[in-house]
Symmetry: C2
Subunit: 334 residues, 2 copies
C-alpha cells in the first residue's frame, strides 16, 4: 500500500469517528458550522502517524482509531483558532470557518471541538494518559502560536503586541517556537499510537524522538514552501507578506546577508503592507543567499534524524510506512 493510500484510508476511518462525536450535543442549526472544518479535508498525516505507530509497536490498529481521531481534532481545533487569530480567508481551497460563518461562530465551533476532544479522550484506551498527552500538547501549541504572533514584524496594531514583538529571532528561539507550534502535536500523534499499543518504554522513546524530529522537519519544509511556494497551491512569499520573522528561510538569509542588506529585508518585513515590488525585492535578497538550499537540506536532515530513531523497532510494514511518511514530508519541498 502506498503512503498516499495509507493516508487516505486512515483519513476515512478517522473522519467517521470525528463526525460521530462532533454531532453529539451540537444543535441541528449549529452542525454545518461545526462540521465545515473537518469536512474540508486535509491530508490526515497526524492520524496516519497514530495508527502506524500503534501497529509498529505491536498494537491493534483498531485501538488507535479514537486516539487518532483525538489527534486529528486537536489539529483542526488549532486550525480554526489560527484562522481567527490570523484572519485567514482560505484553507484547503475553501473559505475558512470564520470566513464562511463569522468569527463569532468560528470561536464557538472551536470551543465545541474542545469539549468533544474530552469526550473522545475519555473513550480512548488508557484514557487518563491520553488526556494528559492532549492537555500538554494543546498547551504547547498555544505557546507556539503566541511566539509565532510575536515574531511577526508588522500587521497587528494592538499596543501590547507592538510593544512585545520579538525583533531578533535566534535559531534557538525559532526551534522553540516550531517545536511547540508544530512538532509537539506530531510527536503526540506518535505517542497516542504507542500509548494505545501499550508499547515498551524504549519503543515509545523511539517514536517520540521520530515524531519530534520529523515534526521539526515538517515545519522547516513548510517554511520553505511559505517562501518559495513551488509545486503547491501556496502563495509565493506568503510569510513575507505576513511579516513573519519566524521562518527558517528568512532567518537563514538574514544570517548571510550584509548588515545593509539584512536591514533592507527586515525593513520589508516591518512595512505595514508588503506590496508586489517589496516582495520582489525581498525575494531577490533571499535568492542572493544560499538560504534556499540550506533550508531544504535542514528539512531533509531533520527528517533523516527522525527516521534513524526507528532503528530499534522490528521490521514491519507499519515501520516501512513510517519511513515513507517521513520521506513524503521531506520531499514535499520539491
Amino acid at each position: 500500500m502506498s503512503i498516499i493510500d495509507t493516508l487516505s484510508r486512515a483519513g476515512r476511518e478517522v473522519d467517521a469517528v470525528i463526525l460521530r462525536y462532533l454531532e453529539r450535543g451540537a444543535s441541528r442549526d449549529f452542525l454545518p458550522v461545526v462540521l465545515h472544518q473537518v469536512e474540508a479535508g486535509g491530508k490526515r498525516v497526524r492520524s496516519a502517524l497514530s495508527m502506524l505507530c500503534c501497529e509498529a509497536t505491536g498494537g491493534d490498529r483498531a485501538a488507535a482509531l479514537r486516539p487518532a481521531a483525538m489527534i486529528e481534532l486537536i489539529h483542526n481545533y488549532s486550525l480554526v483558532a489560527d484562522d481567527i487569530v490570523d484572519c485567514g480567508e482560505i484553507r484547503r481551497g475553501l473559505p475558512t470557518v470564520r470566513a464562511k460563518y463569522s468569527d463569532a461562530m468560528a470561536l464557538l465551533a472551536a470551543m465545541h471541538y474542545r469539549e468533544v476532544l474530552d469526550e473522545i479522550a475519555n473513550d480512548c484506551p488508557r484514557s487518563d494518559d491520553m488526556r494528559k498527552l492532549m492537555i500538554e500538547t494543546i498547551k504547547a501549541t498555544i505557546e507556539g502560536e503566541r511566539l509565532d504572533i510575536l515574531f511577526e514584524q508588522a500587521g497587528r496594531d494592538e499596543d501590547y503586541i507592538v510593544k512585545h514583538r520579538c525583533k531578533n529571532v535566534s535559531w534557538d528561539l525559532y526551534f522553540e517556537m516550531i517545536g511547540k507550534k508544530t512538532a509537539a502535536l506530531i510527536r503526540a500523534s506518535c505517542l497516542a499510537g504507542s500509548l494505545a499499543a501499550s508499547a515498551s518504554d524504549d519503543a515509545t522513546d523511539a517514536l517520540a524522538g521520530y515524531g519530534w524530529k520529523i515534526g521539526l522537519g515538517f515545519q522547516v519544509a513548510d517554511d520553505f514552501l511559505d517562501i518559495f511556494g513551488e509545486k503547491t497551491g501556496k502563495e509565493k512569499g506568503k510569510d513575507i507578506i505576513e511579516h513573519k520573522l519566524g521562518n527558517a528561510v528568512i532567518i537563514s538569509a538574514l544570517e548571510e546577508l550584509s548588515d545593509r542588506k539584512a536591514k533592507g529585508l527586515l525593513a520589508i518585513l516591518k512595512s505595514s503592507r508588503v506590496n508586489a515590488s517589496k516582495l520582489k525585492e525581498a525575494m531577490e535578497l533571499i535568492d542572493g543567499t544560499g538560504a534556499k538550499t540550506r533550508i531544504y537540506r535542514l528539512a531533509e536532515k531533520l527528517v533523516n534524524e527522525g527516521k534513524l530513531k526507528l532503528k530499534i523497532l522490528p521490521e514491519s510494514s507499519a515501520k516501512n510506512a513510517l519511513i515513507q511518511l517521513a520521506d513524503f514530508i521531506a520531499t514535499r519541498v520539491y
Copy 2:
C-alpha cells in the same frame, strides 16, 4: 456571616486555587495575559454556591474547593470568549483581556483556561462525574451564546449571521437561550457542590432545581438591569444599544405594545446604530408598558421557586446562606 462575607471568603479561597493552576505550563511572558481576567475580580457567586451546596448536603467544605474553582474558571472562560465575540471593551471596571492584550492573545488565554479546567477537574473528588458535568455545561453555554448572537437584530454584518437572525423570539425560545447561557452554569455550580459531598439523589435533585430556577431568575434580573441600569454601574439601555431581542423586558414590552408601536421598537433594535434619540424613544415605548414591573416580578418569582426547592434539606447555616444568596440575586434589581 452575611452573604457578602460568604461570597468574599469563597472568592479568596477559590482564587488561590485558580491562580495556582493557571500558572502551570504558562510561560512567564504569557502569565499577565492569563491572569488578567481572574485578577479583575467578580462576585464569585458561582463558587460560593458550590461550597454552600456541598456544606448544605453534609459535605466537607474543603472537598468543594476545587469543584468551586472549576466552576468559577468555566465562568471566566466564557467571559473572555464572550468579550471576543462581542468586542467588549470594559468588564468589572477594567479593560477586558482582548482590549488590553488583543483579540489574538485573549483567544490564546481562553484556550489555556480550557486546558487548566481539565487539570482542575482531574484533581476534583469524583473527577469523572465532575468532568462530565463540566463538558455538558460548557456545551450548553456555547449553544446559549450562539442563540443570544442570533437574537441580535443588527450590529454584525457577516452574511451567515444576517441570514440566520431570529426575528421573533418567543418566551419558549427566550427561556431556552437563558437556560443554556446562564442557568446551566448556575445549576452546575450547585451540582458540583453536591457531587463533592456525594449527596443523596433527592438532595442533588433539589439543589439542581434550586440552581436552575435561581439561574433563570439571575438572568431575568440581569436583563432588567441591562435595560434600566439603576443602582449598578451598567449603562442604561445597554441591550437596546446592542440590538438584543433576547431580553425579557423587550419581549414583554413587545407583547403589550400595539402593532404600530411594537414595529417602532423593533425598528430601533434593527437600526445599525442606536443613537441617544432612538434610545430615548425606545425607553419611552417600554416605559409606556407594564414590562418593568412584570419582569421584576418574574425574576422574583423564579428566585422564590428556587428557594422552595430547598425545603427538603435539613436546616443548616449553609442552607440559610443559599436562601440569602437567592434573595441577593432577586433584590439586585432594585
